[in-house]
Symmetry: C2
Subunit: 373 residues, 2 copies
Amino acid sequence: MTDLARATSLLTIDVDAIVANWRRIASLIAPAEAAAVVKANCYGLGVAHIAPALFAAGCRSFFVACLDEGIQLRKILPGGMIYVLSGPVGGAESEFAAHNLIPVLNSLAQITGWSAFAKAGSAAPASALHLDTGMTRLGLDEAELDRLAAKPNVLASVRPILAMSHLACADDDTSPKNNEQLATFRRLSGRLPAMPLSLSASGGIFLGRAFRFDMARPGAALYGLNPIPGRPNPMTQVLRLQGKILQIRDVDSPMTVGYGASHRVARRGRIATVAIGYADGWFRSLSNRGHGVIGGIKVPLVGRVSMDLTTFDVTDVPEALAHPGALIDLIGPNIPVDDVAAMAGTIGYEVLTALGRRHHRRWLSRATEGKPA
Amino acid sequence: MTDLARATSLLTIDVDAIVANWRRIASLIAPAEAAAVVKANCYGLGVAHIAPALFAAGCRSFFVACLDEGIQLRKILPGGMIYVLSGPVGGAESEFAAHNLIPVLNSLAQITGWSAFAKAGSAAPASALHLDTGMTRLGLDEAELDRLAAKPNVLASVRPILAMSHLACADDDTSPKNNEQLATFRRLSGRLPAMPLSLSASGGIFLGRAFRFDMARPGAALYGLNPIPGRPNPMTQVLRLQGKILQIRDVDSPMTVGYGASHRVARRGRIATVAIGYADGWFRSLSNRGHGVIGGIKVPLVGRVSMDLTTFDVTDVPEALAHPGALIDLIGPNIPVDDVAAMAGTIGYEVLTALGRRHHRRWLSRATEGKPA
């Protein structure tokens, strides 16, 4: 039995499109460097398939969230620069060195720890410094930076090769917070020795040239999310999620559909029960709100999303298209991730990272010619 | 470096508590059989650790959602009866037989397919029949059942050993739908030859003896979710989720915290940035709503949940308890899964199935003495 025949839901990831999105950003921001944010398993899309393709396209700097992800990525990418955003936690300095991972140092405590480690004679990798300019999440605030700048020996000992910060409102180009953070970043980074600077992720890149500095760190935009909400998406969609119809039910009033009997059937019609549910990351908040597409026809999601199953009203779809075994599009060229997110009351980032383990995944690229992996 | 030291979030699953929950239900419903619903990787908690413990406790019937899960479980449990709720899809009959999986036959098409397969001389396993009594999701409706009952040879050829249905409103003991479905199940199952019957999952068990028939299929209750919402939970909590503090930030008005600057700091205080985010299944809908616990003190979640990080106001917690490297309880004995779900605007089931891959997991049981696996 083929993988496709056995699959109850199918996730197709277009690695070439991700690479094309990276190239588009790299050429837009040149001569600034385009890094790639590949944390959370490339936002759920498969770092083992995507990071090597980005490296082959010329990307050299990669950002992950935590040590585990750094170690995993180092096995995949012997050659890239790997930045770990959380920095060393709980005495992990030697693990960073063992796997040649660049810690993003977020606090004086992390800087002190890394300095002591480097001075102890270990071959410590270089580091990055995180300045907080208004996100209030990770990074040095102004007072801490001043204390650090007063200790040039400590600063030199951690060998910083990048000073970075992160924007809180880059998805809203009308927010005054963006220019405030830009000014703060200029002011704070000016107190450090000259080194490459990075402020922007996907959204910030599109706020203009002033936000790009020496490096930008796109993540969401690579994976097809719109970096400029409210305007046409300049990025290419990279994803297709399809669910398999298990059963078609003939229904009529006064029947109800699903848990809580929340959908009341209004007319004679057909309901398709599809093998995808919230255990697959198909959010329960899509209950009675989302839709799918079969043969170009929009089919409303009716009833509550349950753990493994979701029901769609396929009354308007010819029986030749909507039958057990047929696939229904849930995310794809005509249903962008951002639209699914809006229906679910969240953002595209969360739709991506929630994509579940039961989907049969295939990665498309010229290198692999679409071979399932 | 130990696993615990490296972990940025830690998920502890009390397998003994799950077994105790199963035993409680088994003794409550005896002489009816207590099966176990172990689909979606035991609602995200680890089927490879839990299913063998349930088998050792005497559980003999296990329910999974799809063929993949059945094949995986058969490797874990050579001896159990494994029911696959979606039934054979797309010509998968021979795979069911190869792994000794009992298909739940939901439609006439599946019954016809299984009948043909069994008649072809294969050593087909027995099957279960799914009757739809008002869920309108999977199963035979009344007209289809009549067509089946008119073909006793076909019916006999699929060797049914169970007729089952599923309640839509079992979480609401005031819903008239429960008794309607009970009456429908009695009426429809009466048209079949005598065989064991099963109607209830976790909720239905507590609707009373009449709902229990020959087998009940608890899932949620095993994993500590409350089967009788609105009344005290009779089940034991099985889960503890802890996140590690990466950094403590001193804050004061007029600072803002996190994306969208959605939290405005009102007073001088401290913010803990914790290494958990929506990529870990810690829902973004908890933004500015949830809370954690440190040393018995409730700490409000402030700002938006981001992909890898969440911020809590720890101003009221002594510095000796809230420091980088310390753990904060996010789900646990004092924060039941159902409460987290309510804060997130969903149900405990979805909180469980969303639990992310980055958590370091340990399973506690007398058999393994808490050894990390």
